[in-house]
C-alpha cells in the first residue's frame, strides 16, 4: 500500500562488534548527520549474528503469517553471504525502535503493504553484502593477498591459487575489527544461486505436525483465560450488569468491565465462554443506534452524486486536471456515467484475535500474533501508564493477518485484564466477537464518468467516491495520522497504467461510526472493481474486445501489456467457447506489482453460474521465490473470490448482522474452481505480492457475467447482485 513507501534516501551506517566469539553487524540510522559513533544506539538493529561456529542468525522485524517472508529472509542472507541455507536461521527481532525498519514512514516494526520482501531485500541484503565484503578482506589480509583474488563460496573464502579455503568461522574476529564499507557491493542477479529458486518454506515442517506455535498457543504458568463481548452497537456503553449468573459457573474467576466491553475471566476458555453467555448486560443505545447498511448505501451514493468531495491533486497523479476533465466531459461525443458500491468486509482470520499478557507494577509482557508489534507495545504502554521500553512484546506465528492484526485493541484489553487480575491472562475473542468487532474494509461507492472519443477510447476520467476512512480508525502508524484526505481511496485509481486522459478524483468521507481498517489490498479492493467494470462498459460501447481495449489503454506500458498478453494466451482468450460459456478479464494496479485474472464461466440458468476455470497472472517484477509468488496469488485470488461471491458485513439498527461462518460464508474447497496461476518476473526490480489477487478477481467475474447477459454488475457481493455460484 502507498505511503508506507520505502525511503531509499535515508542514510545509514554499518556497525560491527565482536564479543564472546560472536560477531554482530548492524545498520545504524544516521541521525542528523552526526557521526555513527555518536548516533549509534546500544545494541544492533536489523542485525546479523554469527556464532563462533560460523552459523548465522538474522534478526527480522517481519512476522511470518503464511506469506513465506521468513524463508525469503534466510534465502536473501544465504545468497548475499554465500552461505549454505542450512547455516542460516531467522530470529524474530526484539520489539523496540532499534529494530524497526527505517525505510517505513514513520520507522516501524510492522508487516504490511506487501513490503516484507522488498524491505528485507534492501535491509538484510545490504548488511549481508557488507559482512561478505569484510570476510573477504579479513581473509585477504590474513593471507597477505589482494582481496580481488579472493571469492566466497559455501561459507568459506577461497583464493584463486588453489590454497585451502578459510571458513567464515575462522575469520569472524578479524572481520569484526575492519571498518564496514559505506556502500557494500551487492551480488549481481546473474550470480544468484538461491534467489529466484523456490526453496522449501522453513516454517512448514512445524505446520504439518502440530508443533507450530501461534499466538493462541502461548502459555504462562498460572494463567487464566478470558473472553469478552463488546457493546452490540459501536460506541454504546454499559448501563447495568448482573454479574451473578457468570460467577455461579464453576471456574469463573471474575467479571471485568472494560471500555465498551464485558469480559469474563476463568480457569479456561470454555468456562469463561459459559460465564459470558450467562450474562445479560444492558447497553446504552449509543451514538450509532440508527446505522443501517441500506441507508449508508444511499448516503454513499448521494455523496458521490453531490460530487463535492476533497480533490486529489497533481502531486498524487500528474494526470489530475479537473479543468481539462470538465472540458472533456462537456464536449465528449459520449459520456459513460456509472455508479457502483461495495459493503464492509471482515478479515475473518481463522485464528481469532487473542493475546496473552502478564502485567506487573512497572513492566508488562505480551505474547500474541500481531502484524504491528511496535504499535502494540506503545498502545499497551499508553493504556497501562508504562514506558514503552517496559512493555516486552513477543510476536508469534500469525494465524491469518490480512491487515486485521495491524490493530491492537485486543492486546490492550488483554493487558487491562491481566492487570485487573494480578496474574497472566490470555484473552481469546470468540468467533462472533471477532466478526462483530469492526476493523472492516470500508463500505464504499463511486460515481465514474468516462468521456469517450470518436474511437471509443477514454479522453477523461472523473471519479467521485465516498467511504469511511480506515485511517481515521487504524492504530497502525503509517504516514501522517488521520489525514483529511484518505490516500487509500485513490489506490487503483491513481498511478494506474491505463492512459485515460486527464483525471479528476474526489473523495467524500461518509462515516457511520463503524471502525474500519486495512484489508488485504486496501483501497484497490473496491476501486479495481469500479475501474475494471467501467472499462468493460466502455469497451462494449466501443464494440472493442475487452482485452484489445485494455491493450490500447496500455500502449505506453509494455510490461503491463506483456502481463495481459501472457495471461490471455494461457487462458485461451479469444478462442471459441461452447454456448452458454463466457469469459471476463480484469487487471489490478493497486500496488507496485501488477496482476490480472481471466475467469471462464458458464450460465446454465438465470442468476446461476458456474466457474469453469480461473487464470491468474502476477508480475512480481523479479521472481525472488516463484513458489511463494504462486501461493500468494492463488490465496489472494480465493480471498477475493470469497468476498466477491458472498462477502458482506451489514448493519441494522447499529448492530452487525453477521456472527459466524454461516452468516459470513467463506469460500470452501468444493467451491474452488480450477485455478491456474502464472508467476511472472517481467521487470528489473522485485515487488511484494501479498496483496495481489483480491482486487481483480471480483471484477473479472463481474465482467464475465456482463459478457453473458449484457447486464452490468454494479455492486458486490454477487449474491446481492442476484447471482449465485453453483
Amino acid at each position: 500500500m502507498k505511503r508506507a513507501a520505502m525511503n531509499p534516501s535515508r542514510r545509514e551506517f554499518l556497525r560491527s562488534s565482536f564479543a564472546a566469539g560472536a560477531w554482530t553487524l548492524s545498520l545504524v540510522p544516521a541521525l542528523a548527520a552526526t557521526p555513527p559513533s555518536a548516533a549509534a544506539p546500544t545494541g544492533f538493529d536489523r542485525g546479523l549474528r554469527f556464532d563462533a561456529s560460523g552459523r548465522l542468525t538474522v534478526l527480522s522485524h517481519v512476522v511470518e503469517m503464511g506469506q513465506g517472508t521468513h524463508t525469503a529472509v534466510c534465502v536473501i542472507a544465504a545468497e548475499e553471504l554465500d552461505l549454505p541455507l542450512d547455516q542460516v536461521a531467522l530470529a524474530q527481532a526484539p520489539v523496540s525502535p532499534e529494530y524497526a525498519s527505517p525505510s517505513l514512514q514513520p520507522p516501524n516494526y510492522a508487516t504490511f503493504g506487501s513490503l516484507g520482501l522488498p524491505l528485507s531485500l534492501a535491509e538484510v541484503g545490504r548488511i549481508c553484502a557488507a559482512a561478505r565484503s569484510l570476510l573477504l578482506q579479513a581473509a585477504a589480509l590474513h593471507w597477505g593477498v589482494d582481496a580481488d583474488a579472493c571469492s566466497t563460496r559455501e561459507g568459506q573464502v577461497w583464493h584463486t591459487d588453489g590454497r585451502p579455503p578459510l571458513a567464515y568461522a575462522e575469520l569472524l574476529e578479524r572481520a569484526a575489527r575492519l571498518p564496514p564499507p559505506a556502500k557494500p557491493k551487492r551480488k549481481p542477479r546473474a550470480q544468484w544461486r538461491l534467489l529466484g529458486r523456490s526453496s522449501p518454506r522453513l516454517d512448514l515442517p512445524a505446520k504439518v505436525d502440530g508443533s507450530a506455535r501461534f499466538g493462541i498457543d502461548a502459555r504462562r504458568p498460572g494463567m487464566w483465560v478470558a473472553t469478552l463481548m463488546h457493546a452490540p452497537r459501536f460506541g454504546a456503553e454499559l448501563l447495568a450488569l448482573d454479574e451473578r449468573p457468570a460467577k455461579a459457573i464453576r471456574g469463573v474467576r471474575r467479571v471485568v468491565r472494560l471500555p465498551g466491553a464485558v469480559a469474563v475471566v476463568a480457569d479456561g476458555y470454555w468456562q469463561a465462554r459459559q460465564g459470558l453467555l450467562a450474562l445479560r448486560p444492558q447497553w446504552s443505545a449509543g451514538p450509532h443506534a440508527d446505522t443501517d447498511s441500506e441507508t449508508l448505501r444511499e448516503q454513499l451514493h448521494a455523496a458521490c452524486q453531490r460530487g463535492q468531495g476533497l480533490p486529489f491533486s497533481k502531486d498524487d497523479d500528474p494526470a489530475i486536471d479537473p479543468a481539462a476533465v470538465a472540458a472533456e466531459l462537456a464536449e465528449a461525443r459520449r459520456v459513460l456515467d456509472l455508479g457502483y458500491d461495495v459493503p464492509y468486509l471482515a478479515h475473518a482470520t481463522l485464528e481469532p484475535m487473542n493475546a496473552l499478557a502478564d502485567v506487573g507494577p512497572t513492566h508488562a509482557e505480551l505474547w500474541l500474533s500481531t502484524q504491528s508489534a511496535l504499535d502494540t507495545q506503545h498502545g499497551v504502554a499508553r493504556a497501562l501508564g508504562l514506558r514503552p521500553e517496559h512493555v516486552v512484546v513477543h510476536p508469534m506465528l500469525v494465524g491469518g493477518g490480512f491487515g486485521r492484526r495491524l490493530e491492537h485493541g485486543f492486546a490492550v484489553q488483554a493487558a487491562l485484564l491481566a492487570r485487573a487480575m494480578g496474574r497472566p491472562v490470555q484473552l481469546i475473542w470468540s468467533r462472533e466477537t471477532d466478526m462483530r468487532a469492526g476493523g472492516y474494509r470500508p463500505a464504499a461507492a463511486a460515481r465514474v464518468r468516462l468521456a469517450l472519443g470518436d474511437d471509443g477510447l477514454p479522453t477523461a476520467l472523473r471519479v467521485d467516491c465516498a467511504s469511511p476512512s480506515p485511517l481515521d480508525y487504524s492504530q497502525l502508524s503509517n504516514g501522517e495520522p488521520k489525514p483529511a484526505l484518505d490516500w487509500t481511496a485513490s489506490m487503483g485509481w491513481l498511478g494506474h497504467d491505463y492512459a485515460l486522459g486527464p483525471k479528476q478524483l474526489n473523495w467524500t468521507r461518509v462515516d457511520p461510526g463503524v471502525p474500519c481498517g486495512y484489508w488485504r489490498s486496501v483501497g484497490a479492493s473496491q476501486n479495481t472493481f469500479f475501474m475494471e467494470c467501467s472499462v468493460d462498459r466502455a469497451a462494449a460501447l466501443a464494440g472493442i474486445d475487452p482485452l484489445a481495449y485494455r491493450l490500447r489503454l496500455l500502449a505506453a506500458k509494455p510490461q503491463t501489456q506483456a502481463l495481459l498478453k501472457v495471461l490471455a494466451e494461457a487462458a485461451g482468450w479469444g478462442q471459441p467457447l461452447p454456448p452458454g460459456h463466457f469469459r471476463g478479464l480484469a487487471m489490478s494496479a493497486g500496488n507496485a506489482a501488477r496482476s490480472a485474472h481471466i475467469v471462464h464461466i458458464s450460465v446454465p440458468a438465470p442468476g446461476r453460474f458456474r466457474i469453469e476455470s480461473i487464470h491468474a497472472a502476477v508480475d512480481a517484477g523479479v521472481l525472488i521465490h516463484p513458489d511463494a509468488v504462486q501461493a500468494q496469488m492463488m490465496g489472494g485470488t480465493l480471498f477475493g473470490l470469497s468476498a466477491a461471491l458472498n462477502g458482506e458485513i451489514t448493519l441494522k439498527q447499529g448492530e452487525v448482522q453477521q456472527a459466524g461462518f454461516d452468516s459470513y460464508p467463506l469460500l470452501s474447497l468444493a467451491q474452488t474452481p480450477a485455478l491456474h496461476v502464472l508467476a511472472l518476473g517481467l521487470g528489473t526490480q522485485p515487488w511484494g505480492v501479498g496483496e495481489e489477487g483480491p482486487a481483480s478477481i471480483g471484477p473479472a467475474l463481474a465482467n464475465a457475467l456482463f459478457a453473458a447477459t449484457g447486464q452490468p454488475i454494479e455492486r458486490l457481493p454477487l449474491s446481492r447482485a442476484g447471482w449465485q455460484l453453483i
Binding site: 523456490s198 512448514l204 512445524a206 502440530g210 482470520t349 480465493l638 474447497l669
Partner: protein
C-alpha cells in the same frame, strides 16, 4: 469433577474436567496438545478436527464425556502410512500458508484416506469441508491425490 478415562494418541489418560467441557479445550488446556486449533467454536470451520475412533470429528462442540473410553487422535499423534504420506505430500506441495487450519485439514484428509484409498475429486469435496482463509485449497486437493498415489504405489513402505 471426576476423572474421565480416555485414550489420546495411544496413551491411556484420566482427565479431571467438567463432563461437558468440549474435547478441544481438554486437549489444549488440560493436556497441552495445542496443535488442535480453535477457529469458531461452532463446528463450522474444522480447525479443531481430530479423530474419534478413527472418524474425523470437530471437537470444539464435542463434550468430553462423548470421548470417554474412546480413542482420540490429534495432529500430534498423526502417524502410520497414511499420516506420513499426507505430511510428506503436504511438504512436497508446500501446502500451508499461515498454517492455522492445517492440523484440521490433515486430520480430515487422513480420515478420508483411511476410508477411501483413492478418493475422487467429488469425494474430496465432500470430505474436506474445513475452511482455509489463506486459500490453500488447490494444494490441499493436489496433496491428497499425491498421498493417495504414494500409498497405492507402496502402501507399507511410506
Amino acid at each position: 469433577m471426576k476423572p474421565h478415562p480416555l485414550t489420546v494418541n495411544g496413551r491411556a489418560l484420566r482427565v479431571t474436567a467438567e463432563a461437558d467441557k468440549p474435547l478441544l479445550w481438554v486437549l489444549r488446556e488440560d493436556l497441552g496438545l495445542s496443535g488442535t486449533k480453535f477457529g469458531c467454536g461452532l463446528a463450522q470451520c474444522g480447525a479443531c478436527t481430530v479423530h474419534l475412533e478413527g472418524q474425523a470429528m470437530r471437537c470444539c462442540v464435542l463434550p468430553l464425556q462423548a470421548a470417554v473410553g474412546k480413542r482420540v487422535t490429534t495432529i500430534e499423534g498423526l502417524s502410520g502410512p497414511i499420516g506420513r504420506a499426507l505430511q510428506q505430500a503436504w511438504l512436497a506441495h508446500q501446502v500451508p500458508q499461515c498454517g492455522y487450519c492445517q492440523s484440521g485439514m490433515l486430520m480430515a484428509a487422513a480420515a478420508l484416506l483411511a476410508a477411501q484409498r483413492q478418493p475422487s475429486d467429488a469425494q474430496i469435496d465432500a470430505a474436506i469441508t474445513n475452511l482455509c482463509r489463506c486459500g490453500t485449497y488447490p494444494r490441499v486437493r493436489a496433496a491428497i491425490h499425491a498421498a493417495a498415489a504414494t500409498l497405492a504405489a507402496a502402501p507399507e513402505s511410506v
